[in-house]
């Protein structure tokens, strides 16, 4: 005998989060593609202040990335740069707006930053095991972000996006004159270019995991909640039985 639980709908994402999420998603995708166009103009990466054809790269991608992944799809560095720097402004303005609102309305404190009791090894291990089973989180536990999810968001918001913006700026000869200390922090312009590329790869890795988790959690419900804000809580164990 299955008892029908009442369908519970919560208002999960505020308007500012939803708008910022989709602007960020669009900007990131197009920045990635225009970034690959720019990378293809010299598909070698170096460490240090300088680096060119006579120096030893730590990474070379022969022939660069295929046109399917670049913006524009044909070779056009000038237009790739036009896209990239326009979108970089959009990404930064959108990101700053999101951070300011999330500090004011305590979105970070309430939803994103892990609580102290969530960071115990025992609890973290429990979550790792749960994630490894690719099981959907249900019931009251589905109403909040789990700890690994929070840690992933903290990494993306406070580490990877600041890193990719600052390493991008460190490649600018104009900005080098304004903030020369960035060259020292990142170990030079070519190191900054390498770190920019690595940060982009880590963001792609996050995006893939993010999309897989969306599918596991219920793609339609998750996507709808990021469009309308309303989220149907997957029926599951009642309060008290769920893992914290």
């Amino acid at each position: 005998m299955i008892t029908q639980q009442p369908r519970e709908v919560i208002y999960r994402h505020t308007r500012i989060v939803r708008i910022a999420h989709w602007i960020n998603a669009l900007c990131f995708l197009l920045l990635l593609m225009s970034g690959l166009q720019i990378f293809n103009a010299h598909p070698h990466l170096y460490w240090g202040q300088a680096g060119a054809n006579f120096d030893t790269p730590w990474l070379t991608i022969p022939g660069g990335f295929p046109g399917l992944l670049t913006l524009p799809s044909y070779h056009d560095l000038a237009t790739g740069r036009n896209w990239h720097f326009f979108l970089a402004w959009c990404l930064v303005i959108n990101g700053i707006t999101y951070v300011v609102f999330s500090l004011i309305n305590r979105h970070f404190a309430r939803d994103i930053l892990p609580k102290r009791q969530e960071l115990t090894p025992g609890h973290l291990w429990e979550e790792v095991v749960h994630h490894a089973q690719f099981k959907r989180i249900t019931g009251p536990a589905a109403k909040r972000y789990n700890t690994l999810q929070k840690l992933a968001y903290v990494t993306v918001i406070f580490v990877l996006f600041p890193l990719i913006v600052l390493t991008g700026l460190t490649m600018s000869p104009g900005f080098n004159a304004i903030a020369p200390f960035l060259l020292d922090i990142f170990g030079g312009r070519q190191s900054a270019r390498s770190l920019h590329f690595i940060a982009a790869n880590l963001l792609v890795a996050f995006l893939i995991i993010h999309l897989v988790e969306v599918v596991i959690a219920g793609a339609w419900n998750e996507i709808r909640s990021m469009i309308t804000g309303r989220f149907v809580v997957p029926p599951g164990p009642i309060a008290g039985e769920d893992v914290q």
Binding site: M33, Q49, P72, A78, R81, F85
Partner: protein, 255 residues
């Protein structure tokens, strides 16, 4: 299960449609002149932001002798290869003159010896190609600022246009570049006649090239023949202020 499949199908179709739209939509946008000039708003914002933050006209980073690149990559035109240029090379550039004219009070024609007698600056700086690579070299040359003061700028002077001896790729358009007076009077903006202690080689722009250190490589015009002081840039090339600018690249190449 049926429900799940329908949703999955819907989402897959949606994703493919969106992805397709993104891919097929972006190339026509990239080719549209109107959309490209819309994207160029980013350049205006970048220039305004950087110029605002450049309080006191800070210098580009200067390096030490041991940072100098083993080989300084030559890019763009490596030899103008015109009859006129060959004749100048044949004479050891003794017949070469740099004309400085346009909106100036006292137009000048300077030999290499004249330039070497002007206030000079030596700087070990990083050269950043728009393609992404960098090389460090030691440049020596005459500072542009004092030279502009000597020739005397007229009140409506706004830009310095660099006319070059090369036509990149052998085409009909001669290479040219332009900078505004903020960069023109920056202490590191020099007319370089030497790289790493030796006279400029042909591949690096002999006998004279511009160094404007807070911008990318294509601004560092080689094979200088004439500096023309102007009020507007629309009368040169295709009107965008430089050979590569005419081909879509940013006039403000500080990024």
């Amino acid at each position: 299960m049926k429900d799940f499949l329908t949703r999955r199908k819907l989402l897959t179709t949606g994703a493919i449609t969106l992805g397709g739209l993104a891919l097929s939509g972006c190339d026509p946008l990239s080719r549209s002149p109107d959309f490209r000039s819309f994207l160029k708003n980013g350049e205006g914002l970048t220039m305004a932001a950087q110029r605002t933050l450049m309080v006191g006209q800070p210098l580009a980073r200067e390096f030490s002798e041991r940072d100098i690149s083993r080989v300084f990559k030559a890019n763009g035109t490596k030899d103008p290869n015109t009859a006129e240029y060959k004749a100048l090379v044949g004479g050891g550039f003794s017949a070469w003159r740099l004309r400085v004219d346009g909106l100036v009070e006292r137009p000048q024609s300077l030999s290499l010896a004249d330039l070497r007698a002007l206030p000079s600056r030596t700087q070990i700086t990083r050269h950043d190609c728009v393609e992404g690579w960098s090389a460090i070299g030691k440049w020596q040359g005459a500072q542009l600022g004092p030279l502009l003061q000597t020739v005397g700028l007229k009140p409506n002077a706004r830009f310095a246009v660099m006319h070059c001896a090369d036509n990149y790729g052998g085409g009909a358009d001669m290479y040219y570049e332009s900078i505004d007076l903020i960069d023109g009077f920056h202490p590191q903006t020099i007319l370089a006649y030497s790289l790493n202690g030796r006279p400029l080689e042909i591949s690096h722009g002999a006998p004279l090239r511009l160094r404007v250190e807070r911008q990318l490589g294509y601004k560092q015009a080689k094979y200088l023949m004439r500096i023309e002081i102007v009020e507007r840039l629309d009368g040169f090339g295709r009107g965008k202020g430089g050979y590569w600018e005419d081909r879509g690249y940013e006039w403000y190449a500080g990024i």
